[in-house]
């Protein structure tokens, strides 16, 4: 039965961030073709105004759980947290891009238009209860990413990365869509909340199980879980670093939000299907991600493999969602995600401050002796690496503590053991960076002038924010954050 959706003011509040972004995207597109308004400054203005308006709108979004457009759009804590996270990352990335040597090619009408449009796709994805809308949001985001990846700096390498990402991403999308189709065919509904109710009686049916499995594979592709990770290192390495930072963080946010909705809600009665499969993916990602990261010499590639390993840790926590009480695992995932996002942004900000037009593929050796020339940057990078490695007193330790806590609570001893081995391996390559920065002689002059020591710059602002929050999240803030995530956890657990 189709009934025309009732449109209330609450609906506009909920839809506002997406609508603002779409409007901004259209304006930027028109600016790009008009001679008078296609200057970098005019386009930047539109980009900033749109992003900040969207942030304000997302912050003002109602936290009561409600749905509109037949489940196409949700309001609620999780949606709000996800949208805010994505928008703030976007703002941070724009701040960093502004001072990067690729700024001129990034702040162009068509690029900004695509950028804003793909963010709107991500927002749709994190606030949707409907399989079709989910898919549309995901594709909007993915196609935008394919384009931006190859378009901002059109050289051979970035185009190769973009094509690889495009082909594998499309296969993943097809698999995911097939999974969704099977679920729809079996359950007769597109709504996740409807699937929860429809699944238990038919949970043993082969098509349903295949549908859930294919969905998992599709999400695994996007999260870059091993063995579906092949696109990630190439894409990370070849993209302009700002885009890499954007991709590494926002994609995780949006996919994990969906994963939370699916695995703790809709698929809870199918845990015997996805749970063993996810365990395998988690183990492979933690081990292979960390081992591959060990042998990388390119900094961005190393960070790519490390992000694969971190996806693995998050998958460990997702496995813990098969427990009856999902509050701890959900919050563990969100906390881990928060720290991962902040630390990744910080690490990529360091990379961006060191890149020059002549050398935008930094190797680990290029960081040698950084502590002597740029002590602030070296200190920041050390904090990030320690946090990635899970050492106290940084956020990474608390995140790992909660993830292990959730997993052990669910008797996943083996997984935690694998996590421990992975952590130890990871410390080796994270610390190798620290060794290079502090214990080796400088080999090359460092980085762009506008982010040098002590000078105010937006990149340094992002960096400072990331360092401070990494340390605060590891010391005084965890209780506060975990408290605030309770809302999201209860919402996800809603059956």
């Amino acid at each position: 039965m189709f009934s025309f959706p009732e449109i209330t003011s609450a609906f506009y509040y909920t839809a506002a961030p997406v609508l603002i972004l779409v409007a901004g995207s259209m304006i930027a597109l028109l600016q790009g073709v008009s001679t008078g308004y296609s200057s970098r400054r005019a386009i930047e203005t539109v980009a900033w105004i749109t992003t900040f308006a969207a942030i304000v709108a997302a912050a003002a979004m109602p936290t009561e759980h409600a749905d509109y457009l037949a489940g196409g759009l949700l309001s609620g804590t999780l949606a709000r947290v996800g949208q805010l996270a994505i928008l703030m990352i976007s703002a941070a990335v724009m701040m960093m891009m502004r001072e990067h040597h690729t700024a001129q090619s990034f702040f162009r009408g068509e690029v900004i238009s695509i950028f804003l449009m793909l963010i709107s796709g991500m927002l749709v994805l994190v606030s949707s209860d409907d399989l079709v809308t989910l898919f549309v949001g995901l594709e909007l985001a993915s196609i935008g990413l394919y384009v931006i990846l190859g378009y901002v700096q059109p050289n051979r390498r970035s185009q190769e990365g973009a094509i690889k990402y495009f082909i594998l991403g499309s296969v993943a999308a097809a698999i995911l869509l097939f999974g969704f189709a099977l679920l729809y065919a079996s359950c007769g509904t597109m709504r996740l909340s409807g699937i929860v109710a429809a699944l238990p009686p038919i949970a043993g049916h082969g098509w349903v199980r295949l549908g859930a499995l294919l969905t998992l594979v599709g999400l695994g592709f996007k999260l870059a879980l091993v063995p579906f990770h092949m696109w990630a290192p190439d894409a990370y390495e070849s993209a302009p670093t700002g885009i890499t930072a954007f991709m590494a963080t926002t994609v995780k946010v949006m996919i994990l939000t969906v994963a939370l909705r699916l695995f703790s809600g809709a698929f809870s009665s199918l845990s015997d299907v996805w749970y063993p499969a996810l365990i395998i993916l988690a183990v492979l990602s933690v081990i292979a991600g960390n081992i591959m990261a060990l042998v990388q010499s390119n900094l961005k590639r190393m960070l790519a493999y490390s992000s694969i390993a971190h996806s693995g840790y998050m998958a460990v926590a997702i496995c813990a969602l098969s427990a009856t009480d999902t509050s701890l695992p959900v919050r563990a995932i969100l906390f881990y995600l928060l720290t991962y996002v902040i630390v990744s942004l910080g690490a990529f900000a360091v990379v961006m401050s060191l890149e020059t037009p002549d050398n935008d593929q930094l190797t680990i050796d290029d960081l040698s002796g950084l502590a002597k020339k740029r002590p602030g940057l070296a200190f920041a990078m050390t904090v990030f690496m320690l946090s990635f490695g899970g050492m106290p007193p940084t956020a990474g330790f608390i995140g790992k503590f909660f993830v292990f806590n959730a997993a052990l609570n669910n008797h996943l001893y083996g997984l935690v053991f694998v996590g421990i081995i992975g952590s130890t391996i990871s410390l080796f390559y994270y610390l190798r960076l620290v060794v290079r920065m502090y214990m080796a002689q400088p080999v090359a002059p460092f980085g762009a002038v506008n982010t040098a020591n002590g000078r105010f710059s937006l990149t340094n602002l992002v960096l400072g924010f990331a360092v401070v929050s990494t340390l605060l999240l590891g010391t005084v803030l965890p209780a506060e954050i975990m408290d605030r995530l309770v809302g999201a956890a209860t919402e996800v657990a809603r059956k």
Partner: protein, 508 residues
């Protein structure tokens, strides 16, 4: 004053870190050394306050402070000292100013960062000793690693990066397993009581089935065994010591290694008492092997620093053997336990002095090979005196602290297992051999190298940090009661009641 009295442990713990923060901000080496020395001496005075007002007759936890960190998960910061941790706290606060003094005129690069790292390290060590909450203990335990990692990696010798990476990876493998075991313990306690708590005062009461206790004890024991280090997990130690700068070696041998043996006494044994019976023979075996292996390896070393490093493996073997000397009635031997604790302090003092002395000659000759020296007694008489005192303390001659410790350990171990005692006793003999070999090769005989004839004797600065240690070696041998009185009640409580251990809070 009221505030000081109720927060004395956290003030003591975090004071060095705050000074370190100031040192990092103010870019001046001269200021840094004054601030570092002042800060560490102030910390020492705060710890003297604790020592003075510590109630010796009580086995309770004293000077307790409790702060809530993550209320929902029962994670609190609980600080407190008892007789066992008090002595180690004093060792830490006493050793740090001496280490800072030893760097007073140093010309290494980025000296102020060195001071900062040492002070941050001190906060880590003190925190790990006073924390009575598993999460906080773990945090401090890991926080200790980071400054040490930099100290070895930045200011160390030629193979410093290999050594420091090995050091940190070894330790992290153990400590992550310990973290997992701690979480399992915490979850089991929650399942039993419905309360989330990471406070060990609560967790002592968790009743776990024997198999779980075995596993958890194993995980904790591995972390501690790597830190001690017990044979066969000791291989990181010689590398770390050889590559570390003198100051790093002193702290590493003096305090850091004791964290492992302290961990057994505070965590592994009282929390998993049912596993002690199964693990005690293994630990005693590994301890005895460590004693003999360490001694034999030390004997053949050509490098003075390596010799002292291997002697640590041997001496800490004694501590481990003494920590788990089970008597027939199932309790631990009080004598052996007392000896183990005393030996920890002794080893810190005498080995600290030995590393300083090796540093003294290394600074003059830039070599530590025994073959490059000889006859120093005639050139550097004061150096010889202090080296001999430290050596005697290390081999356990009556009248030095080493004698008291080793004697008590052997006495207690004999009641538990005569074979182990006899085997350990050979370690005393071997210890005398290799340490006296060290003395002979350095001090006596003719001066064979022309350069050695012009060596200067100890400078006033070197006296300032060596004399206190030399005096301590003797004072600890002559007046052991002065030190042991503080820990008697706690040790007896642990030895007799570790099977149903609990620590009451002394609120005075």
């Amino acid at each position: 004053m009221e505030f000081f009295n109720s927060h004395v442990l956290s003030i003591m713990t975090f004071l060095p870190l705050m000074v370190a923060a100031v040192i990092f901000i103010v870019p001046d080496d001269k200021f840094a050394r004054v601030a570092a020395l002042g800060g560490s001496i102030l910390t020492f005075f705060v710890s003297l306050h604790v020592w003075h007002y510590f109630n010796s007759g009580s086995a309770k936890i004293q000077f307790v402070e409790s702060y809530v960190w993550i209320p929902e998960f029962g994670i609190r910061a609980i600080f407190g000292v008892d007789g066992i941790s008090l002595l180690l706290v004093m060792l830490t606060t006493a050793l740090t100013p001496l280490v800072i003094l030893s760097l007073w005129n140093s010309h290494v690069a980025n000296l102020r960062y060195f001071f900062g790292a040492l002070l941050a390290l001190q906060t880590g060590m003190l925190g790990a000793l006073v924390a009575l909450d598993l999460v906080f203990f773990y945090v401090f335990w890991e926080v200790m690693l980071i400054p040490m990692y930099f100290i070895i990696g930045i200011w160390g010798g030629a193979r410093r990066i290999y050594a420091t990476t090995k050091f940190i990876l070894y330790t992290v493998v153990g400590s992550l397993l310990m973290l997992a075991a701690a979480i399992v313990l915490y979850i089991s306690y929650h399942r039993q009581t419905g309360i989330y708590s990471t406070s060990i005062l609560d967790l002592y009461n968790a009743s776990l089935d024997p198999t779980t206790q075995l596993w958890l004890f194993g995980c904790f024991a591995l972390a501690f065994a790597i830190k001690v280090p017990m044979w066969p997990f000791h291989t990181w130690l010689p590398d770390a010591h050889v590559e570390a700068p003198t100051a790093g070696s002193v702290i590493l041998a003096g305090v850091l290694l004791k964290m492992g043996t302290y961990g057994f006494l505070r965590f592994a044994i009282p929390m998993f008492p049912l596993a002690v019976k199964s693990f005690a023979p293994i630990l005693v075996f590994l301890g005895v092997v460590g004693i003999i292996y360490g001694a034999l390896t030390a004997w053949v070393q050509q490098d003075a620093k390596k010799l002292v490093a291997y002697s640590s493996v041997s001496h800490l073997g004694f501590v481990v053997v003494g920590s788990v000397a089970l008597l027939a009635d199932g309790s631990l031997s009080v004598e052996a336990l007392t000896g183990a604790l005393y030996q920890m302090i002794n080893h810190g003092v005498s080995t600290g002095a030995l590393f300083f002395l090796v540093g003294v000659i290394y600074e003059r000759r830039h070599t530590r090979m025994l073959a490059d020296f000889g006859g120093l007694a005639s050139v550097m008489p004061w150096f010889a005196v202090i080296l001999i005192i430290a050596t005697l303390g290390s081999v356990g001659l009556p009248g030095t602290g080493g004698f008291v410790g080793e004697f008590l350990i052997l006495l207690g171990t004999y009641q538990s297992s005569p074979v182990a005692a006899v085997m350990s006793a050979t370690g005393v003999l071997l210890g005398a051999i290799y340490m006296l070999t060290l003395c002979r090769k350095l001090l006596f005989g003719p001066v064979t190298h022309e350069e050695n004839k012009k060596l200067k004797d100890l400078s006033p600065l070197e006296f300032s940090y060596l004399v206190p240690l030399a005096l301590l070696v003797i004072i600890m041998g002559v007046f052991p009661e002065f030190f042991l009185a503080k820990s008697k009640a706690s040790i007896e409580h642990l030895a007799k009641n570790y099977r149903s251990y609990s620590l009451a809070i002394d609120s005075h």
